[in-house]
């Protein structure tokens, strides 16, 4: 199953299988933790086709949907937030 990150539903997690971006986009993705093998969670999407709000490990970041298209995912599942006691 190959889903791109821009198609992931909010409050779902998935594993990154590959990143097809090049140049500056790929450098930035690596630096922010969008690396194959990592778990990514889509927290929400901005209205009117705006950017995505993601969480990777402890980092939360924003990425435009056009850039998110270059990230391929697998093992999609619902994300259950764990609240602080």
């Amino acid at each position: 199953m190959n889903l791109t990150l821009d198609r992931l539903l909010p409050e779902h997690s998935a594993a990154i299988t590959s990143v097809t971006a090049t140049g500056m986009a790929s450098e930035r993705m690596a630096a922010l933790g969008l690396i194959p093998g990592r778990q990514v969670t889509l927290l929400r999407r901005a209205p009117f086709g705006g950017p995505l709000h993601l969480r990777i490990g402890p980092t939360e970041l924003m990425i435009r949907r056009t850039d998110a298209r270059a990230i391929l995912l697998d093992h999609v599942h619902r994300w259950k937030p764990r609240h602080k006691p």
């Binding site: 939360e60 970041l61 924003m62």
Partner: protein
């Protein structure tokens, strides 16, 4: 005796009084600038680095017996990256021999940021590693063994919380020891930096035994706040409310301070300067009072505005809200070739364009930044509002005045969007908008105050001379030849206006009113005063005199021109300083002028064609 000799040999060994040069390097969102301010005190200043046409924050501190010049380089993700900032850091490391590099990382992101540290180590420049935000790491359960990390990297590692001032002294000690152990500066050897894959592999190996990351992170306050602040229905209205709040703060706090400053300057002018120059000839008196003192006054009245604005900006930025505002607004701005941060700055511009122009520093891509500097001057600032409030009430009926004002606000947005649309290809940013949304943090008063101080002093440092020279130039134009009445038709300005009459006639502005546009070029605050001088009316008769001179179509045309043609001399000075390009400054002055004329022409001739 022995200690003196030791000190002497120490001194000769470290090259006597040679200033040691240290660069602070790290990714964005690591609290790099906060750390920089901590170790350097309040001595930091933004200045052009010799040989590089770019502003770098630097500070001099005494560490032990060595004078150290520290440079706060812009945040970078990798050493071999393609962004503007990454190219700048590379250029700096190529050009400047360094005594040490302080590499700073965010403790909670250490797994991702260690590869940069390893790249810096490979350059061969002595390294000190600062692991910042250790307070947040503790809360999240991130454990970092600094001793193991230090062994693995082969450089001292210090855990720091710059925000709370923890670990600053050990960091200074580590830097001092490193400087003492390495007498001569070194050039960074970029060829020695290993490939990304190798760096990442080594980083993963080191983190595996020196860093403990919790498996699942608890969802904290930030997530709860985001659920409200970033929700589609509440987030956007709240954003506009927050902007309105900042706006109100600038008006509520800065404007009274500005008035107080004006009052003080007037008192100084009338009670101190006037008696001093009383014996001098009239032209000298006028030069000192209306040229020099007013020039200084123009600069001084900006100070409260800048301080309050940058205090508010620091709160928005340090709290983590700025990047979230960018997230909320990005959808609309992306279509105009801008990003969400540009919109925040454009809104800020409705208070005052000058700090908004300086605020574009948060945008790290040059093209994107230039485009937003081209757009911001169309924001209808408080000084222009003052002119419009006066003119609409003088010329229009009480029913029509608010409609005209609203139309001017709409035109302000239209001019900005049109400009972005026309120029977005010329200033296209190729940098992807991907950035961290840091957790919400409570800004400290010290951080807010230091940011306000830094931005204000930077503005004064850079723009003062330009503005005073501009004011003096306008003074010469409106006061020479000395035999003519000030700003009258026989002065240089009057001749200029007569000569330009064919340009202004089609938009309904007569030569007398076009002289006031010359005043408006300096600052919109002096337009009304200038108008009073030109039409020869006291402050109380001015409204009547203007109404007698202009019908509503001509007045509206005058206001449209005033809205669009240029914000003020200070804004142009800021654009020049920030862009460091004369060509761009000329464009940023000429484009609005042309747009202003076209808009006024379309309105004036259109209205006249309809028989109005």
């Amino acid at each position: 005796m022995e200690t003196a000799a030791q000190a002497l040999s120490e001194r000769s060994r470290t090259g006597g009084l040679r200033t040691r040069v240290v660069a602070v390097v790290g990714p964005p969102n690591t609290g790099k600038s906060t750390f920089f301010n901590r170790i350097t005190g309040a001595s930091a200043r933004v200045a052009n680095w010799p040989g590089m046409t770019v502003d770098i924050t630097t500070a001099r501190v005494l560490l032990g017996d060595a004078m150290v010049k520290l440079a706060d380089l812009p945040g970078i993700y990798t050493l071999d990256g393609h962004s503007d900032d990454e190219a700048l850091v590379r250029r700096f490391l190529d050009a400047v021999a360094l005594d040490a590099i302080v590499a700073i990382v965010n403790a909670t992101r250490i797994e991702l940021q260690l590869p940069l540290v390893l790249a810096l180590r490979a350059t061969g420049v002595p390294l000190v590693v600062v692991v910042n935000m250790s307070d947040e790491a503790r809360k999240l359960g991130v454990g970092i063994d600094t001793a193991k990390l230090s062994d693995a990297i082969g450089a001292p590692v210090v855990a720091v919380s710059a925000k709370y001032g923890e670990g600053i002294e050990p960091a200074q000690r580590a830097l001092r020891t490193t400087l003492e152990a390495n007498a001569a500066p070194a050039r960074a050897d970029m060829a020695a930096v290993p490939s990304r894959a190798l760096r990442e592999a080594e980083s993963a190996r080191i983190c595996a035994h020196a860093v403990h990351m919790p498996v699942v992170l608890p969802v904290g306050t930030s997530a709860a706040l985001d659920r409200v602040l970033l929700s589609p229905w509440v987030g956007l209205p709240l954003f506009f409310l927050a902007m309105f709040g900042v706006f109100e703060a600038v008006y509520g706090i800065a404007v009274p301070l500005q008035d107080a400053m004006k009052w003080l300057l007037d008192a100084f002018k009338n009670d101190v300067v006037a008696p001093l120059v009383a014996p001098a000839p009239a032209i000298v008196r006028s030069f000192v009072q209306d040229g020099l003192v007013d020039g200084v006054g123009t600069v001084a009245t900006f100070v409260p505005l800048m301080a309050v604005f940058f205090g508010a900006m620091a709160v928005i930025e340090d709290s983590g809200y700025l990047s979230r505002a960018a997230w909320l607004m990005d959808a609309a701005m992306a279509r105009l070739g801008l990003d969400g941060r540009a919109f925040v700055m454009q809104l800020m511009g409705f208070g005052c364009n000058v700090p908004a122009l300086l605020g574009t520093r948060v945008m790290r891509n040059r093209a994107a930044r230039l485009l937003s500097m081209l757009v911001i001057p169309f924001s209808l600032c408080s000084a222009r509002l003052q002119v419009f409030l006066f003119m609409t009430s003088a010329v229009l009926s009480p029913r029509a005045a608010p409609v005209a004002l609203f139309a001017l606000y709409l035109m302000s947005f239209a001019a900005a969007f049109l400009t972005a649309f026309v120029w977005k290809r010329r200033f296209a940013s190729h940098e992807p908008l991907m950035m961290e949304l840091p957790p919400y943090r409570l800004p400290t008063l010290a951080m807010v105050a230091s940011e306000a101080w830094r931005a204000t002093s930077h503005f004064l440092h850079r723009a003062t001379a330009f503005i005073i020279v501009g004011v003096l130039l306008i003074w010469v134009l409106t006061h020479f030849p000395a035999s003519a009445a000030p700003a009258g038709p026989d002065t240089i300005a009057g001749h200029l206006a007569a000569w330009l009459a064919p340009v202004f006639a089609p938009i309904g502005i007569d030569p007398v009113m076009s002289i006031t546009l010359l005043f408006g070029f300096v600052a919109k605050e002096i337009v009304l005063g200038g108008m009073a001088v030109v039409v020869g009316a006291g402050p109380n008769e001015l409204a009547g005199a203007v109404a007698a001179r202009l019908d509503w179509v001509a007045a509206m045309s005058f206001m449209i021109f005033t809205l669009i043609y240029t914000p003020c001399l200070s804004a142009i000075a800021t654009i020049r300083n920030e862009s460091k390009s004369l060509r761009f400054t000329v464009l940023a002055t000429a484009w609005p002028l042309a747009l202003a004329w076209l808009a006024s022409f379309a309105f004036y001739q259109g209205a006249r064609a309809f028989g109005l």
